[in-house]
Symmetry: C2
Subunit: 355 residues, 2 copies
């Protein structure tokens, strides 16, 4: 009996399939998770949470306190995508993004939004000469312009003033900067801070000073700085120059969509919303949205969700299993030919994981 207890590690996984293509891609991701961990003695005990635009339309709420508490009782979260049909009048006052996705990131203190960008052999991409692309954006996840600290006066009149404040704390910036340096130490030892320090002197100043200070403790990491506008240029002219990028919540949002595009499209872009302290479950999700226009048609590429499973496994310390998933995706991308359904892509990757 003690042997069984020893072998059987139970991971409590909250699954939020969400809206649009979310359920389709999550189904494939779960198949790959099962294949990668079969025989490992690890049991993924899953709880499904019906959250998103569909749930809002049914019940009128986005994320109740009870949902949040239930989710917190898990070890990790796998999320598909949330968001209804753009322009749906019934969703006019529901901000699913803020009320659900960002609420999870903020409440679960996901201060590291980890977004790797790698150009796999055979992946399509818009660049004529992309070169080797392999970098990670460490995007801050709990501060900056995303805090919802804004308001307006005289709304709807010619005298309206609408403000939105970026809030940056030493506490919040330092912890994500430290994470980025540690990551750079384990990679090619290059870190690029991206901000707009020449204009956003206060928000940018705190980032620059903290990066400079933490850099002292990492003399072997080469540090440079780019304004966000210049960073977008390099992402299309010389993406190979990047190893680890550390940046704020908004710039990270922008850079990672562009990075996804130059590395084969957001059909391949995975992300982890990580609470490195382990105080709350981390959440893994494809960077893409719910794409309601193609939902239910087996047209979605589940690869981004599957690569998010690799990040999840890695986060749980299951490095071999994670590597197996990544390798299977790499092989699948290299072998891509004719168009396949969502399930066909999932099955192909499952087969490679099992091989």
């Amino acid at each position: 009996e003690s042997r069984v207890q020893h072998q059987q590690r139970v991971v409590k996984l909250a699954v939020i399939p969400g809206d649009g293509i979310g359920p389709e891609v999550v189904a494939e991701a779960e198949k790959v998770l099962d294949a990668a961990t079969a025989g490992s003695g690890i049991l993924f005990e899953r709880t499904r949470f019906s959250l998103g635009a569909a749930r809002f339309l049914e019940t009128g709420d986005t994320l109740s306190d009870a949902d949040l508490e239930a989710i917190k009782a898990h070890d990790a979260i796998l999320l598909g995508a949330v968001g209804g049909v753009p322009g749906d009048p019934r969703l006019k006052d529901a901000n699913i993004e803020r009320g659900l996705l960002l609420k999870l990131r903020f409440e679960l203190d996901h201060y590291v939004n980890l977004r790797p960008s790698k150009l796999y052999d055979g992946a399509p991409g818009p660049l004529a000469a992309p070169g080797d692309i392999d970098f990670v954006v460490v995007r801050e996840g709990t501060e900056g312009p995303y805090v919802g600290n804004g308001g307006s006066i005289r709304r709807g009149t010619p005298h309206e003033v609408a403000n939105e404040t970026s809030v940056n704390t030493a506490y919040g910036v330092e912890r994500v900067v430290r994470y980025a340096f540690d990551l750079a130490e384990r990679r090619r030892k290059k870190l690029t801070l991206v901000h707009k320090t020449n204009v956003l002197v206060h928000a940018g100043g705190i980032w620059q000073r903290i990066v400079d200070a933490v850099a002292q403790e990492h003399p072997d990491v080469a540090v440079d700085y780019l304004h966000v506008d210049a960073a977008t240029i390099f992402l299309v002219t010389n993406p190979g120059r990047f190893d680890v990028i550390v940046t704020d919540n908004l710039f990270g949002d922008i850079l990672t969509d562009l990075a996804g595009a130059v590395t084969g499209g957001i059909g391949l872009a995975a992300s982890g919303n990580i609470n490195p302290d382990g105080a709350f479950p981390s959440m893994f999700e494809p960077v893409h949205g719910s794409a309601p226009d193609i939902a239910g048609q087996q047209l979605a590429d589940p690869t981004a969700a599957i690569l998010s499973v690799a990040l999840l496994l890695d986060h749980l310390g299951l490095r071999d299993e994670a590597a197996r998933v990544t390798r299977a995706v790499e092989e699948d991308v290299a072998a891509r030919g004719d168009a396949r359904t969502t399930t066909q892509i999932g099955d192909a990757i499952v087969a490679r994981v099992q091989a």
Copy 2:
């Protein structure tokens, strides 16, 4: 005598060559200006202003009230680029960008920052299949996150909090949105608002509502909306979808650098900082910076400065002269072969203007 007075239109032009490659590219731009207006009866009466990092190092000031008043007495401004060597310790506390460039844009109420992006035949670019690219970004120039409305407390301590506020007014947003719609009417009648309304609900909300309202007056203009992250994807996967983009100061900064990169590099990207009311002189400048690393070596491409002259001529109502400059650049780009010096490129374009 009345005949002479009639023919001789005098345009008072303030010229700010600036730092780094600024003087080199402005010299070529002025040659092209002369060639394009020769025999037109228009006299460009020039005043040179020595402003920028070099001037700061000499005198300790960036833009005095007297400079500003003197500049205001002109009809238009041609600016090269300003900014010293990055990391120069003597410039540590000088923010040339805020103290000079942004100060000019704000004090002269340049609420339209006009940035056309066109892929010329023969222009190099990073995209494998760029397609036809021809759009204009109408970037707001006097508000948003650029207002300098921020501060920090407990600076340099673990308890620091640094804020930066984006300020958006109905007055400021409406005027630039109206300009963008008018421009779309004269072009392909398509306008895209770019913002991040799902997260920046207050700053984004005012933009969305004003675009919706002004759209009512332009039923023939097709209006759509993109989040800034999605817009960067389209800029590399389908830039041909854009005609007029209207956006705030920060998003406009980011999008136009990326747009410059996909249309042959910022060596070709021109801009106009425009006060459409004519209350203050408008300012024309290449999008690129002062690039001190290559300054004085005849390595800079003066084309962006030359195309800024085309925007200047257009702004002054000299449409034929503007078109002649644009055509000359188009021909020059199409004929590009071996590397040329800054002056050689300028001379070649002058010759085409004269032909």
